[in-house]
């Protein structure tokens, strides 16, 4: 697709821009490059197939193939499929003939390709619809001229122009030659909802078949002749740098080629990834440890709480004051495909294959790292194995480019999973939120104060309720840990605090939490989402003892989203039974991908509420992989229901919208089940004690080596009281007891082993009970 650019006519482009801009839509217009007959000829000579190219987004070939180019990155959010549906609908294409391709990085052609903040559909929908409508109008003109009848006597349908009063029809392929000779229309009429065929329908990602065959090329799968593989030893603390290093052992490893100072540490280039990994392990590096070796999570949280200060006082009619402080941890993104980038420098040009949320930023970064002009850097934006905000930062491109330049080889640079988690340079910042509110004699909220202190950038917004002059403040504490955008940014933390606090207020006012929210809703769409949640969840039907239901609602990115979560808590073991999502997306483009995003939001919300957490010790991230930065798996995933409200207004962002309310709905459900108010994430098992009289001890006190474990669980009991009859129980994540044993009487040793060869892989809860205490730990079988 890239060679088209060279043949475009500047004059016609200017005309087209002029024409489009009279629509007054305020769109980014840089991508609208018109049809060009000379180009059509060129394509014909090359491929025997003639192409009509009304703009950069669209090409119609004489064999009826419709090629739609999407500039935004695909990360699993379905952007390519959904935007192509909009083009195909407006041009009345036959979906079976549509091929979707990814546009390489080019600001001149596509405008911004930065893909984040749920902006792809909201930002590009109108221009993509216009791109399709342009083609439809030109095909109608072409047919009308061919038949010598009025344009109004023709209509478009599924890849054909039909004569309304007759039986003649011509396919888009038939018309493509003629259409390519026509001026681009000045007036575009977009369809109204009653004529939509694909917009508002439900389509899975278009490349599903390729994905299930393993054919799809992610960035990590790039294949280049002569490719070498690079990995790095990154600095062991935030701010460390290399003093010197010895690569003698590294260079002895078969397949290792070279080492360099790169990526803030030392990079190893090898014939294959395994050799590069071993090479990194064998490096002997002497580090300047930098100034952050005293940094740990406690220091950071203290810096946050120290900034809370005194909260504003409440109005005089307040008879009841509530105050609470909530705490939210750092999070890495940990997308399934670790950060990577492939760079092939050839003289004064360079090709890049990358999974990124910002291909133009990759282009600029590689240009500056290699000294090659950006125009000569071709960036193939590959399918990304998840992003969640991480891939907006393009550190991997910088490192890959500099290693390619230093080594002289085409390079695939890969972060190990451990690197990916420890070197996430845009962690969600940890934060604390101090909230204060009052109630008057009639149970109405008198005042609202929220101070959010972030270990990085962050803001505090108001919930979609009528609150008397809410006072929101934000500030930053210790910002040493690199932070940035994480799915739903500040809403991922604020909404947890706000929506749990609203529950606390509702209960203080002796009101049902859902009805209380309905009573203070400031917007009919909020009310509609809450009412739908109430119905779908059978909100008023009581649940058994030990089970509970919680609700939460949020407004942002132009949409509204709420959840009801149902849980059961049994002896401190939490099980999520059901998650119901109701989302008002305004204008729904693709129901299927909206549902997908909501499902993903639920799994993210539950995983981060219950276990995933980045902690800092001695200036470094402590977590090393999915074993200690844990995500929900199949056995934990609850029954999910998603209900989409389509109000027909403009589209909301979707990727972020489904996350914020999951965690507070969960925590409110826990309160409803067992009366424990969660104010700190991730939820600790010790907080979930219910009927037990024994003291619940923090999971840190018992350790399993190694964890994850294999066929034997070795429990380190050094910190466990040896009092009474010690018992060991192991539960699966659903709370089912799957192993139980009593220790020998008067057991005093510090180690105890259990045969786990017939345990299946997954997460378990280990519980050691003594005379006075229960000790709990999450453990993992591989």
């Amino acid at each position: 697709m890239e060679n088209y650019q060279n043949t475009e006519s500047v004059n016609t482009r200017r005309n087209f821009l002029l024409q489009i801009s009279t629509l007054g839509t305020g769109l980014i217009l840089s991508g609208l490059i018109p049809a060009n007959q000379a180009l059509a000829q060129l394509i014909k000579e090359k491929n025997e197939i003639q192409s009509f190219i009304p703009n950069v987004w669209l090409e119609v070939q004489s064999d009826n193939t419709v090629i739609i180019t999407i500039g935004q990155s695909e990360l699993g959010q379905g952007t390519r499929t959904s935007l192509a549906m909009a083009v195909a609908d407006e041009m009345d294409a036959d979906w079976a003939n549509v091929k979707i391709v990814q546009g390489n990085a080019s600001n001149a052609k596509y405008g911004s390709q930065s893909t984040g903040g749920s902006s792809s559909i909201t930002g590009k929908l109108t221009i993509m619809r216009q791109a399709g409508a342009t083609a439809r109008a030109m095909f109608i003109t072409a047919a009308a001229q061919t038949w010598n009848i009025a344009e109004s006597a023709c209509k478009a349908d599924a890849g054909y122009i039909l004569e309304i009063a007759g039986s003649r029809k011509l396919s888009y392929g038939d018309l493509s030659t003629k259409a390519a000779t026509l001026p681009v229309p000045t007036n575009l009429t977009l369809k109204t909802a009653k004529d939509f065929k694909y917009i508002g329908s439900s389509k899975p990602v278009f490349d599903c078949a390729d994905i299930v065959m393993g054919k799809t090329e992610f960035g990590i799968d790039a294949k280049v002749t002569g490719l070498k593989y690079a990995m790095a030893a990154f600095p062991p603390t935030i701010g460390a740098s290399v003093k010197s290093y010895d690569d003698t052992d590294t260079l002895k490893i078969p397949g290792v080629l070279k080492t360099f100072k790169a990526a803030g540490g030392v990079a190893v280039v090898a014939d294959n990834t395994y050799a590069a990994m071993q090479g990194v392990e064998a490096l002997k590096i002497s580090w300047n440890m930098g100034s952050n070796t005293g940094l740990n999570s406690d220091v950071i949280y203290k810096s946050l709480t120290d900034k809370i200060g005194t909260l504003d006082s409440l109005p005089g009619n307040t008879i009841k004051t509530l105050e609470a402080t909530y705490q939210v941890p750092f999070l890495a993104h940990a997308p399934m495909e670790p950060m990577n980038c492939t760079v092939n420098i050839q003289g004064t040009t360079c090709e890049v294959w990358v999974s990124s949320q910002d291909s133009q930023s990759v282009q600029a970064t590689v240009a500056s790292a290699t000294g090659i002009s950006a125009a000569n850097v071709t960036v193939h934006s590959c399918l990304s194995g998840g992003g969640f905000g991480r891939r907006s930062n393009v550190d991997y491109a910088n490192y890959a480019a500099s290693i390619a330049k230093q080594s002289g080889y085409p390079i695939k640079f890969l972060y190990s999973r451990k690197n990916d988690i420890q070197r996430d340079n845009s962690n969600r910042p940890a934060s604390v939120h101090a909230l204060k509110a009052g109630l008057d004699t009639s149970g109405k909220i008198t005042g609202w104060v929220h101070r959010g202190i972030y270990a990085g950038g962050g803001s505090v917004g108001s919930p979609p309720y009528s609150l008397p002059s809410p006072k929101n403040y934000q500030d930053a504490g210790n910002t040493t840990v690199p932070t940035g955008a994480w799915r739903s940014v500040s809403a991922s933390q604020c909404v947890f605090a706000i929506e749990c606090f609203i529950d606390e207020i509702a209960l203080a006012a002796a009101k049902d939490p859902l009805d209380f929210r309905l009573g203070i809703s400031n917007n009919s769409r909020v009310t509609a989402v809450l009412n739908e949640l109430k119905t779908r969840s059978n909100w008023t039907n009581p649940l058994p003892k030990g089970s509970g239901r919680g609700v939460s609602i949020f407004s942002g990115w132009g949409g509204y989203c709420g959840h009801v979560v149902e849980v059961t808590v049994n002896n401190g073991i939490l099980k999520v039974d059901r998650a119901i999502c109701v989302v008002d997306v305004g204008f729904a483009l693709n129901l299927f991908t909206i549902e997908s995003q909501m499902m993903g939001g639920i799994i993210d919300g539950l995983s981060t509420a219950t276990r995933a957490e980045i902690t800092i010790a001695a200036g470094a991230v402590e977590q090393t992989g999915y074993g200690d930065f844990q995500w929900f798996r199949m056995n934990e995933a609850p029954k999910i229901e998603v209900y989409i409200i389509h109000t027909g207004t403009s589209p909301s962002g979707v990727g972020e919208l489904g996350f914020p309310t999951v965690t507070p709905a969960l925590c409110n459900a826990i309160y409803n089940a067992i009366g424990v108010r969660i104010r700190r994430l991730p939820i600790s098992y010790t907080e979930l004690k219910s009927t037990s009289v024994k003291e619940e001890i923090n999971r840190d006190l018992i350790k399993v080596n190694p964890n994850p474990f294999g066929n034997e669980i070795n429990i380190d009991l050094t910190n466990v009281e040896k009092l009474g009859q010690l018992e060991c129980k192991i539960y699966d994540i659903s709370g089912n007891l799957i192993y139980m044993s009593s220790f020998p009487q008067n057991f005093m040793a510090n180690n105890y082993s259990i045969d786990s060869s017939n345990f299946i892989s997954g997460t378990y809860i280990l519980r050691i009970s003594t005379a006075n205490k229960h000790y709990t730990a999450k453990i993992q079988k591989v």
Binding site: P204, V212, G214, E217, I603, W631, I640
Partner: protein
């Protein structure tokens, strides 16, 4: 060392300790099998070893000599394997990165238990992580495949 991948024999002169994952990806160019963690945590790298799903990132290539390996590329060349068809019908993938591993785990499950219950699915599929959260659709797809 001769290894058999997707019914094809390869004679390789490589480090016998190299995990099968990197042999597939870097030496043979079979990149459908994915790297997610390299330490057995995530299941992205799942392949069938004589019909049993195994994590190729922790499987030294020397251990598969004399065994028959099936990767995602070996299921079919046209997405016609019953599990692939079920995956398409349920529209499972979001980013798709974990899906080759999920599919190989599901194929292994259905070989061992042709009509799995939800508990069987929980047991067999919990070695795999899907960071995009497609679990409901994976479960639906396995039930579709089991119906045949």
């Amino acid at each position: 060392m001769i290894i058999k991948i997707n019914n094809k024999d390869y004679d390789l002169n490589i480090d016998p300790n190299m995990p099968l994952l990197w042999v597939l990806r870097d030496i043979l160019g079979l990149t459908g099998t994915k790297y997610g963690c390299g330490v057995g945590d995530c299941g992205s790298c799942m392949v069938l070893v004589d019909s049993v799903a195994r994590k190729s990132c922790i499987l030294p290539v020397s251990q598969i000599v004399g065994k028959s390996i099936t990767t995602i590329e070996g299921l079919s060349s046209d997405a016609s394997h019953i599990v692939q068809k079920a995956w398409i019908e349920a529209g499972v993938p979001q980013c798709g990165y974990c899906q080759p591993g999920q599919i190989m785990s599901a194929v292994g499950l259905l070989i061992a238990i042709p009509k799995p219950t939800d508990d069987d699915i929980n047991n067999a599929m919990s070695a795999n992580i899907c960071r995009c959260g497609t679990y409901s659709r994976i479960r639906a797809a396995i039930h579709i495949a089991a119906k045949g």
